[in-house]
Subunit: 212 residues, 2 copies
Amino acid sequence: MPEMISEKIVARLCLYRRVLAELESSGISSIFSHELAERAGVSAAQLRRDIMEVGYAGSPSKGYDISGLQESITRFLYGNCKGTTSIIGIGNIGRAILSYIGRENFNINVTACFDEDRDKVGNVFYGCRCYNLNELSERTKQYNITSAILAVPETAAQSVADKLIESNIKGIMNFAPVQLKVPGDVYVENINLGIALEKVHYFARGKEGIRY
Amino acid sequence: MPEMISEKIVARLCLYRRVLAELESSGISSIFSHELAERAGVSAAQLRRDIMEVGYAGSPSKGYDISGLQESITRFLYGNCKGTTSIIGIGNIGRAILSYIGRENFNINVTACFDEDRDKVGNVFYGCRCYNLNELSERTKQYNITSAILAVPETAAQSVADKLIESNIKGIMNFAPVQLKVPGDVYVENINLGIALEKVHYFARGKEGIRY
DNA sequence: ATAACAATGTTATTTTAATAACAAGCCAAT
DNA sequence: ATTGGCTTGTTATTAAAATAACATTGTTAT
């Protein structure tokens, strides 16, 4: 990957890829920028500018070839390597995301999951074996896992993150409402559902000047 | 609320409020902008600019009064009305967020939840009674609910959203990977966990030029 | 063949967000 | 008392993102 691209563009490329996959399975073979843009909920200009980044060329008459563009975006996002990740903490959120990822196809495989609850260790959740948390480093290296989904309680988040980083993980999807301290080469995506809900409430109240 | 503020600022204000609540419960009474900023993971300049929006004034010598600032942000975000929301779909994600919201205190109360599974209807999940989905409009109006958490399967998302809008809901937190079509006065916050995971994978791979 | 059209790829402009800069204010130390 | 060194609140600057504009290209119809 030559140079890094902005988070927003990456997120939208993932979105386009998903829309393209749906379109492909419905039998369409090509699509114009404005149509694809509408389905993705973005403007046509923005979509074209994003696709410029991956370097795929459509045709002025046919638009974009769906399978070709899809493949091109996939190569851009994933290169040669397929994704391997793990989930730490098989509580409500851990299980929710596991069921979600298992169902859909993201080119990302949840290779292992971890918990310290003895009732969970050894079981298989949605096709994914649960290991004891104290095997975290060992298994992470063994399976060459490079990112992790952190779904442990707030109090444990930083110490587990530290172990992950020791095990050479470079990306963390963090569900704990804590600002993790990580080295500069580790990417953290914070998912804070509480804050998202507060946002919804704020704009539900205020949009269009509605008062109650 | 005089005029609308950007989504990003709102999200950060929610974050500050949470950090302030933690600080308050640990007995500290005032804090400087750079300290609060560090705990929230933002720059001091940005924090001060954000706080400017809510119109709270700190002191150059003491910094911000923690309870005062907290109260001020709360009033800005919530006004006089406390939040009432509902969850539609008590599957894995629905339960996860319900347990999450129940545990923490966001000034937002999950007043009702809905599902069409007869085994769930009538039960109480994390303190929240589950109603039949066909009572959605009725209950939403009855309890004066103004936002909703949409955690139903992709295929049902749009039709449920339509019912919500009919019931006068103005904010939706949408977990379904679909671009909902809603009127302009309805705010939608899309939570797409699959895309978030793909982002993590991309940056885990690319940051600092690491290749494998 | 060629003119007209429509969509692309890319550059230019505008808008928005983040950073930095700095005057004003307050306290402590002298 | 007054200077110095902090902070804050706000304005100015820079950077980033989104939008719009447009020249180019390929296709279709005449």
